[in-house]
């Protein structure tokens, strides 16, 4: 592997570019017309315009991306996250043109595509799962029957989905009957697949996920867990490692079982197993993400392992370069997703030109961002501007450093979530590690924002 096409944008394009440079691999950045002035394009050795701003004709166009790789002499494509990163048909087309897809093969992606099927597969390999319907529920009658057996409340979910779409919590048979057609329709329009499954709805849950990696021979390692419970409308805002929701005994057992199960189930390359941890402290497997994730730096920070470099090595067929005992987890890391959203107005997405820009720095501070002063945030894509990742020997130390680092962040021109995070870091629920997935929505973002200290020159 000598030359990689980076088929993504924003901060992750930059992250992959950095990994390529460290590995001595050439990188070509593919970009849409709207991203001509993005940082990855500006600093890349080579960049190629693949289409207009509309993602469907650029970052979501398999022919455009593969043609761009061939036109620039690349031998591999890194899909980043989102867009085509978990698309089996894309992975297959990439391979059919003699290129390496940096991720699981098409065959593996297909096997791990359906959430319902994956739950059944991994349950067979020893992972605890939430009581739920036996796969997809065909119609509203089947759903009602399954719900009665499991016990309300239950949550309806799109089998092909993610990101909260096609999802509803229902507390009674009447609510289920009303929600079923709505979810089917939402799932159909969002994922082109209206099939639904349902499962017991756990209240006061933590979202805990295990980072894993598997080589071609099935050697599987885990890299600890991340707690992503701080969410707003199912969108992650803050991630940290380790989780405050697991006892040491439960944690070690969960991590060991996750690595063993995912290797045995035939998964390859890096991935993430997501679990919900109920108020009883027990984790239940919910789904797998077959890609590098936004929050991967949390794990990199506590383990010292470069996950993007590992992903590239595994994609080209290297043996697992380290053993489980080499993966040492040290201290505590927290990531904040700074987005172009206005927390004072329902997190309304922002676009526009960045005026002044200052990134935080200092010991144990990492700031992954494609921003610069004068950069125009385009309105077409997701609103992630930067990820701030901070490490401390303890959670308390990481939090104290996070406050200091957040105060250094200066992004003018668009509203951002910075002050919301400063408020979050004053909130007892977060400070005590009690934030559950429903907490922000229940508490309201205004209350959290109001807790932000008003300081001159902050």
């Amino acid at each position: 592997m000598k030359r990689i096409l980076i088929a993504n944008r924003g901060e992750i394009a930059l992250r992959i570019l950095r990994a390529c440079r460290q590995l001595g691999i050439e990188a070509v950045v593919a970009y849409s017309e709207a991203d001509r002035e993005s940082r990855a394009v500006l600093i890349a050795d080579e960049a190629i315009c693949i289409g207009p701003a509309e993602a469907k004709k650029s970052y979501l166009s398999a022919p455009a991306l593969i043609a761009a790789a061939l036109a620039t002499g690349c031998d591999a494509i890194h899909p980043g996250y989102g867009f085509l990163s978990e698309n089996a048909a894309f992975a297959e087309a990439v391979a059919a043109h003699g290129l390496t897809f940096i991720g699981p093969s098409a065959e593996v992606l297909e096997r791990f595509e359906s959430k319902a099927a994956v739950r059944a597969l991994l349950a067979k390999h020893g992972l605890p799962t939430i009581p739920g319907s036996d796969g997809v529920v065909a119609d509203v009658e089947a759903a009602a029957k399954a719900a009665a057996k499991i016990g309300y409340p239950v949550i309806l979910k799109a089998s092909a989905g993610g990101g909260g779409r096609g999802m509803r919590v229902v507390g009674s048979p009447d609510e289920l009957a009303a929600a079923f057609p709505i979810c089917t329709q939402e799932a159909q329009s969002a994922f082109n697949d209206g099939s639904l499954y349902l499962e017991k709805y756990l209240v006061d849950t933590h979202h805990v996920e295990v980072q894993i990696a598997v080589d071609h021979a099935g050697t599987a390692l885990h890299f600890g867990e991340r707690d992503c419970s701080v969410q707003r409308r199912h969108q992650k805002l803050v991630e940290e490692s380790p989780s405050t929701a697991l006892s040491p005994k439960v944690r070690e057992e969960l991590l060991a079982r996750a690595a063993k199960a995912i290797g045995a189930a035939g998964y390859r390359n890096v991935g993430t197993l997501e679990f919900l941890v109920g108020s009883d402290g027990k984790p239940y497997f919910i789904e797998i993400n077959c890609r590098i994730q936004v929050e991967h730096p949390v794990t990199e920070t506590v383990t010292g392992v470069d996950l993007v470099a590992l992903q590239i090595a595994l994609a080209r067929g290297d043996d697992m370069p380290l053993a489980q005992a080499d993966v040492e987890r040290r201290g505590h890391a927290i990531e904040f997703r700074l987005t172009a959203e206005d927390p004072e107005h329902e997190f309304r997405p922002q676009a526009g030109e960045i005026g002044a820009f200052r990134s935080p720095s200092g010991p144990w501070v990492r700031f992954d961002s494609h921003l610069y002063a004068g950069y125009e945030v385009p309105p077409y894509y997701d609103s992630l501007l930067a990820k701030l990742i901070v490490w401390g020997a303890t959670r308390e130390e990481a939090i104290a450093r996070s406050r200091a680092a957040l105060r250094e962040v200066e992004i003018e021109g668009v509203a951002t979530t910075r002050d919301f995070f400063l408020g979050l870091l004053e909130t007892p629920t977060f400070l005590e590690g009690r934030a559950t997935t429903g907490w922000i929505d229940a508490a309201g973002t205004a209350a959290i924002l109001a807790a932000a200290p008003r300081r001159e020159g902050a």
Partner: protein, 164 residues
């Protein structure tokens, strides 16, 4: 992607020989074409040398005044890239490999909406059509070249106001 950045260097290395070949082989053809098309000016770049043929007077039958610019220093700054205001760029509609239409060459007349090239994007043919009619003044690519979305493929000189 292939861009203009190497062009000046290449031009500086062109020599007398290249010029005489251009003049012998190309000049008569260009003069004829200028006559046929009623175009005000035709410019061709080849192997780093530029040859420009300009009609003497508006509307008059061509008694061609020909100039050739053998080096970057002699050429007006950015003669090719800073096209005059009447030159319209035709841009690639996709990323892939370009095939120019067989009738597209310097001096050829292209009708408004005419097919000038096809971009092959993994077997999918993406048409490139001229938004306005004109005469091909400069070719920026050759058949088989890899091109990116939005790349200039050729410059058209607009019809009707051809002579200066």
């Amino acid at each position: 992607m292939p861009q203009d950045r190497d062009r000046l260097d290449a031009r500086a290395t062109s020599d007398e020989e290249e010029m005489s070949v251009l003049i012998d082989s190309l000049l008569p053809v260009l003069v004829d074409r200028l006559d046929e098309t009623g175009l005000g000016e035709i410019e061709v770049e080849r192997n780093g040398a530029t040859i420009r043929v300009r009609a003497a007077r508006a509307g008059a039958p061509v008694s061609a005044a020909a100039t050739a610019s053998p080096s970057a220093a002699a050429a007006p700054a950015g003669a090719a890239s800073a096209a005059g205001p009447r030159k319209q760029a035709v841009r690639s509609t996709a990323v892939g490999f370009v095939t120019l239409s067989s009738e597209v060459h310097v001096g050829a007349k292209v009708a408004k909406g005419g097919l000038v090239a096809v971009i092959d994007t993994l077997g999918v043919a993406n048409e490139v059509r001229a938004e306005q009619g004109g005469i091909v003044a400069v070719l920026r690519c050759a058949t088989g070249d890899p091109v990116e979305y939005g790349q200039e493929l050729l410059l058209l000189e607009s019809l009707g106001e051809g002579a200066r």
